[in-house]
């Protein structure tokens, strides 16, 4: 007899709507879609600011004020040297997965950053994190890396602010892959990992396991 009932999918439930609407109240769709860092002009803003000052101490907060009108030819080489740098210990998943829970030193951060042979073309120089850059649509933190010859070779978005009211879209091509060295340098900041579920079958769950085992 229950088969005679209409599908619930066609019923409206005002009680539920009342329940959820306060939480997810629709605001005006006037908020424009923000394609942050999608173009070379925006992507180059942070690059320029940091590239002109390659000896920035990551510990010293420098505010990088982005000028949307800035054109930065120095940003162009970035796209041609975006290949992920093969860094020693790139297969972090292995040590991570086998890490004993009692290990006090998390393998991700414990791996030594070995000094590669001097090669002016290799992206193996200083890694500089911008503490917070004032961006057109908010505050953003970038990480930059230089070759030994102080040529900018890698830029990564590290952090999005919380006070944003709009979303961001990252062009995966415009911004290079986060290399292993960068992960080593910054994983201390990460407390949890979010990813599509399939990722959890591999490295991500292992990295989360390291976070779980950290003191």
């Amino acid at each position: 007899m229950s088969q005679n009932r209409p599908s619930i999918g066609q019923q409206s439930k005002p009680s539920f709507a009342r329940q959820v609407m306060p939480a997810v109240a629709l605001t005006a769709v006037g908020v424009g879609f923000v394609s942050l860092l999608d173009g070379s002009s925006s992507g180059s803003v942070g690059l320029t600011a940091v590239a002109t000052n390659p000896v920035v101490d990551p510990n010293v907060p420098t505010t990088i004020v982005a000028d949307p009108n800035t054109t930065a030819p120095v940003a162009q080489p970035t796209n041609t040297t975006l290949a992920p740098t093969p860094v020693a210990g790139n297969s972090a998943a292995t040590p991570v997965a086998t890490a004993a829970p009692a290990a006090t030193a998390a393998p991700v951060t414990a791996a030594p950053i070995t000094a590669a042979p001097a090669n002016p073309g290799a992206c193996d120089g200083d890694v500089v994190a911008s503490p917070s850059a004032q961006f057109r649509y908010g505050v953003i933190q970038l990480q930059t890396q230089f070759t030994k010859a102080n040529v900018l070779c890698n830029v990564t978005v590290l952090q999005f602010p919380n006070d944003r009211r709009t979303s961001v879209q990252i062009n995966n091509y415009a911004l290079p892959i986060y290399n292993q060295e960068a992960v080593q340098n910054h994983s201390a900041k990460i407390r949890a990992i979010s990813g599509a579920t399939y990722s959890w079958q591999a490295y991500v769950a292992a990295l989360q396991a390291v976070l779980d085992s950290r003191p």
């Binding site: 959820v20 952090q159 979303s167 995966n172 986060y178 959890w200 990295l207 779980d212």
Partner: protein
């Protein structure tokens, strides 16, 4: 009696990895009890909702043995929310496979995690995060006073972290991507699995909505982020392929 500042737990549940980090100064037994209540609840929910469990209500409904309206109130609540989401997303979110089989998995994980996290609050815990397969509900802050920092996986290389997001107090984050759990994301409008995006994360106050918005927003593709912006306090971080 052991009082500690950090309490960390991990287990497998709902077919994925579950982690709980508590940064409250509390007795280890209290933390342990809270963790056990979370695992127990997730187990109960899995028995009700898993399509892989023959005796689950979802399986019985799919086989026609149980009508939806005769199901438990949790199942009705989930499908109620799914129905609302289908409308709100213009069909991008769907709780049915293309062949018509019920599969609310895109909603249940976040919903279950949020219900489990309520248990933590009810037990007096203030500073923690609960992660179920990368969908994370947070509360308060880290012991250091900093906000919880969550790394988003690089969609093109799951051995890399793409960026770090600081989660506002009490907020949640969920991420969707291609091939998620055997392609359980499909476009309800076109019945295809195509999206120009590689990964779509949503940060917001409630995990069940953040998770659902991530699922729908990913399917919407380039419209997803602006759609999410229409919901107060929710925002997306979309990672797109080369355009």
């Amino acid at each position: 009696m052991t009082v500690a500042l950090h309490h960390k737990f991990a287990a497998k549940a709902m077919g994925t990895a579950v982690s709980l980090h508590i940064d409250d100064i509390c007795d280890a037994e209290i933390a342990e009890r809270a963790w056990r209540s979370v695992v127990d609840l997730l187990w109960v929910i899995e028995q009700k909702f898993s399509t892989f469990i023959e005796t689950s209500e979802i399986s019985r409904i799919s086989r026609g043995e149980l009508h939806l309206l005769d199901a438990s109130c949790e199942v009705i609540e989930v499908f109620d929310a799914c129905t609302w989401l289908e409308h709100a997303s213009n069909g991008a979110f769907r709780a049915r496979r293309p062949d018509g089989t019920l599969d609310p998995a895109g909603f249940v994980k976040g919903w279950a995690t949020q219900r489990a996290s309520r248990l933590l609050t009810e037990q007096g815990l203030n500073n923690w995060y609960l992660s179920v397969g990368g969908d994370i509900q947070t509360s308060g802050r880290q012991a250091s006073g900093e906000l919880w920092s969550v790394g988003i996986v690089d969609p093109t290389d799951d051995q890399q972290v793409r960026c770090i997001v600081e989660i506002p107090e009490g907020f949640a984050i969920a991420t969707s991507g291609t091939a998620e759990r055997g392609r359980h994301i499909w476009d309800g409008v076109t019945d295809q699995f195509v999206s120009p995006l590689l990964s779509f994360s949503v940060v917001g106050p409630d995990l069940m909505w953040a998770d659902a918005f991530a699922t729908a927003g990913f399917v919407m593709g380039s419209h997803g982020a602006s759609w999410v912006d229409g919901f107060d306090q929710y925002q997306a971080i979309a990672i797109s392929a080369q355009s």
